[in-house]
Amino acid sequence: MNESNDKLDARITADAKQAFDQSVDGLDAATLSRLNRARQAALEELTKPTRHWLQWMPATGLAAAVLLAVFAFRGPAEIDVINTPASDLEILLSEENIEMLEDLEFYSWLVTQELEGDSDLG
């Protein structure tokens, strides 16, 4: 690089800096006001409590996604027979078991006998 290029570079850099500084000084009041508000908003971050729990958000999300994936790829689970009072009633009220209702006293006696037998054993 020769001396004239060095001088030219220095002049270009100096002029660029000068033009830049003038454009900075010429910023309008509305822009300066917005910058001031932006600065105040940033400074409010200092007074906010540290949200440590937020640090765990990605890990928690990942864990939840892995769990979902595991359940999704495990295939259909075995269907358990649901033993609820409603299903019991449905069975009881079906036509095939209507005789059971008629012999309700007998079954009640049978249960009592079984319970007494168990207590004798214990």
Binding site: A16, G26, L32, L35, A41, A42, T47
Partner: protein
């Protein structure tokens, strides 16, 4: 330790923490006030839109205070510009995606009748319209020459020349080695000499 001593210790801790926060807030306020206008112009030269540049500067300020308040104040300038440059790069990526998406939709008609009273207001520095024109023309030529530089060269030139960061600080801000900064800066100067040199003949 008695209950009274504990209370006194806690209140001392709280007052010390409060004083530290206040001192830190003053330091940040001073730093941001000093850097904000140049940062805005640098961001504006990167995205060529003042509103977008203002948003990027605000994001950079918030991220700096939120994430780097524990760092020494000497490190703030390079970190701040690193956040800002990342923001500018992300903005360009988003714009590229948006352009690809919007290419599928017909263009909406622009409204040319918008009158910006703030832009039309007199210069607060009291310069004459001629001076303003001369300055704005010089700035426009220089700005377009700088904008045409490849991204890394532009970043190196703006951070070194406009913000006055040293090579090490520029390297932190750009996330590269000091050698790379020197190379990018040298190439930027060479390209500007090629583009603007004829104005100096």
């Amino acid at each position: 330790m008695t209950a009274g001593t504990v209370n006194f210790a806690v209140s001392c801790d709280e007052s010390q923490t409060g004083a530290r926060t206040l001192h830190q807030a003053r330091q940040f306020d001073q730093f941001l006030a000093e850097v904000e206008r140049r940062a805005l112009r640098i961001a504006e030269m990167g995205v060529r839109d003042r509103d977008e540049a203002l948003d990027l500067v605000q994001d950079a300020m918030i991220k700096l205070v939120r994430n780097y308040s524990a760092r020494r104040s000497e490190e703030w300038a390079p970190l701040f510009y690193r956040i800002l440059q990342n923001g500018v790069r992300d903005w360009h990526r988003r714009q590229a995606v948006r352009r690809r998406v919007m290419a599928w939709f017909p263009k909406a008609k622009s409204d040319d009748n918008d009158y910006d009273a703030i832009a039309a207001a007199p210069d607060p520095a009291g310069r004459t319209p001629d001076e303003e024109l001369q300055n704005s023309e010089a700035m426009r030529d220089m700005e377009s020459a700088v904008h045409e530089l490849p991204t890394r060269q532009r970043e190196a030139f703006m951070l070194r020349t406009f913000e006055g960061l040293n090579v090490a600080g520029t390297a932190v801000a750009m996330g590269c080695s000091e050698g790379s900064v020197k190379t990018h800066y040298s190439r930027a100067i060479h390209a500007l000499r090629e583009k603007l040199g004829e104005h100096y003949q």
